[in-house]
Symmetry: C2
Subunit: 390 residues, 2 copies
């Protein structure tokens, strides 16, 4: 087990009516004037935005609004939010939505007190010293951004998608999580979220660090839950307990508890980011459903141990040969993804073989000539993995 530090300071209020605590939680975290960030119309149509705004009002908290956050959120809206906050002396951000909304809120929170361009942080040119407090009202279980210190923003017009990870600076102060608001998520979006949270665990689970049994067992337990409840949610989308299990699993998948004490490997996420950077209409989860099994298939040939352990402990595979067990597990994983309506190939995503060289080039420009913690990959191997995904 490697040395680690861990903290999960976000205060989660989980359950029925959680959204009504927005005002009191904002007040408790010192907010007096906030920017409420949201996405498209669903937060309005469901009535959630209204409830949140009324709750803020009842607690005497002034607010302005910024809607229109899109999937794969971009720098331009972040800059607009920073501007709005400065003009209105805002001292807190409330995100009402899923990962894209929360990541936008975090970027605004980091940018407001910074005397420079917020992108400096994502470009690795500066470190966040302070940020406005962020509160979350979660509507999509997927990114785990409600409990993580991460934020993924795409720089336009280059479509350069960068994930920033902080230990502490970008962790939300509070997150209100009412599973009822996920009942009406379309099946495709629900499935994308399931793939995303599973990937957050896999990227931590595939590790060469020995002696992390407790972290492995927790990770396997959350994976098993997501697979079991993920199958159920497709036929019973308005079952509260099923939605609740998926929602809390999404938080546990990414708040750090599944990664304690080991080296992680975020190669699949980086490889997927190059797909959705070129094809912004590809949902992150759909891209991961294609890339993650391809990456695992390469690993089954070169470093099968962890894939075999996953196959046996999560899917109950009994094959004693590591490579064969790993491949059986990947097959079961693909079948699960397919059963919830996810694509399995790049061509289903509309990505052509001819685009692979450009993705590989950008991947290594962004991440270095050799990438990967579980197994090191040069452009030759990442090309092979993209080809395995065709």
């Amino acid at each position: 087990m490697l040395d680690f530090s861990f903290t999960s300071p976000t205060k989660y209020i989980f359950g029925q009516d959680a959204e009504h605590s927005a005002g009191s939680m904002a007040a408790d975290s010192g907010m007096t004037s906030v920017l409420v960030v949201y996405g498209g119309g669903s937060a309005i149509r469901s009535g959630l935005l209204d409830i949140v705004l009324k709750s803020l009002q009842n607690s005497g908290i002034a607010y302005i609004q910024l809607g229109g956050v899109q999937p794969n959120p971009v720098d331009t809206l972040v800059r607009k939010g920073i501007e709005l906050c400065r003009q209105n002396s805002v001292n807190g951000i409330v995100a009402v939505g899923g990962g894209s909304v929360i990541d936008t809120a975090k970027a605004i929170a980091a940018g407001v007190p910074y005397n420079g361009d917020f992108w400096d942080f994502w470009a690795g040119k500066a470190q966040i010293k302070q940020a406005l407090p962020v509160g979350v009202v979660l509507t999509i279980p997927a990114a785990g951004s409600e409990g993580s210190g991460n934020s993924v923003i795409t720089l336009t017009p280059e479509m350069r998608k960068i994930s920033l990870r902080t230990d502490f600076a970008l962790r939300p102060k509070w997150a209100l999580m009412n599973p009822k608001y996920t009942f009406t998520l379309p099946p495709y979006q629900t499935a994308c979220g399931i793939v995303d949270m599973m990937a957050h665990i896999y990227e931590r689970y595939f590790s060469t660090t020995p002696g992390v049994e407790v972290t492995d067992r927790v990770a396997e337990g959350v994976l098993q839950t997501i697979i079991e409840q993920g199958a159920k949610v497709m036929t019973t989308p308005d079952n509260y307990d099923v939605r609740a299990n998926i929602m809390w699993s999404g938080t546990l998948a990414h708040n750090g508890i599944c990664g304690t004490g080991r080296k992680e490997d975020w190669t699949s996420h980086a490889m997927e980011h190059e797909i959705s950077a070129l094809h912004p209409n590809v949902a992150h989860g759909a891209g991961l459903a294609v890339i993650m099994p391809a990456w695992m298939t390469f690993m089954a040939q070169h470093a099968p141990q962890k894939g075999a352990q996953m196959a046996r402990r999560v899917f109950g595979v009994t094959n004693t040969d590591d490579t064969e067990a790993a491949l059986e597990g990947i097959e079961l994983l693909r079948k699960f993804y397919q059963s919830i309506g996810m694509p399995l190939t790049l061509s289903e995503l509309g990505v052509n073989e001819s685009e692979i060289p450009a993705m590989v080039q950008r991947l290594h420009e962004n991440k270095g000539a050799i990438i990967g913690g579980y197994y090191q990959l040069t452009a030759k191997e990442t090309t092979e993995i993209y080809h395995l995904a065709l």
Copy 2:
């Protein structure tokens, strides 16, 4: 799944040399003058206390010391600590030790700013509004107090042992956890810690709340780890990874993550407290090794579902009859406890049948005429459970 709130704000620094961060962590949490609380001689003999004091000194933090905390810590030392803090204008407490030391530190932290007797909080007469910040340097994985909001103190001379649970007020600000300092724990003490942390999970796991699959899977994963690593530690007490897994499991067992979304049932802890209140030389873990399986045996006859699930998922029992499966699981649990040198009966603890009426009477005086969340018990049933433990 029930509504819940969850936060784990403690900052854990886990690994080799963690103890050297005492000064910087104390400074980060605003401490300038601290009381260092410890137990017997082991913190001195191991050199740990010296390292902590030097680290504080190097960060410019003044300190005074209070040693001599005993297992089943008592109010008198808490009062002495409060007095010392007030005389020396202390603004933080650093606990160097295990659960008894940390619980004493927490009680002192709550008592210093309170204009009354600290016992008011434990007696349920007042609620903690503020407390000094507490930092921990952990030496015994067992009580989980390094990450919990709990503190167990015994009032003398009545020997009234009360566990106070707070959501937030008593959570340590930081905890430094170096598994190396647990290498020299005697086998009996190591085993008591293992039983204690397992009980912290069982008391959450035995629940009638449906739809908590993710919480169940995490709990089962931590239980499996403790049992597997607990067997190993007896033959390889100085294996770093084994000790590290046990140490981190002890924190996860009690920081709340194994209890989210369900009704808990702390009857076994309450029943054990009556044993160690009358027999202060009985270690809490040893008492639990006797009581917990007796409580489970009663439940196998009256509400076998959760015991059967535990038997199947943690111990791999295949029996399809719930009562039989539960009883098989309890038998395997008893065998495990026995294999690590734990007692299985009240008589091994030096407790006589004739003491049962007094324990039952005090139990219900402290906890009410009917106790238990998983299954409700009157004095008739708690008497039966104590008898099952003879």
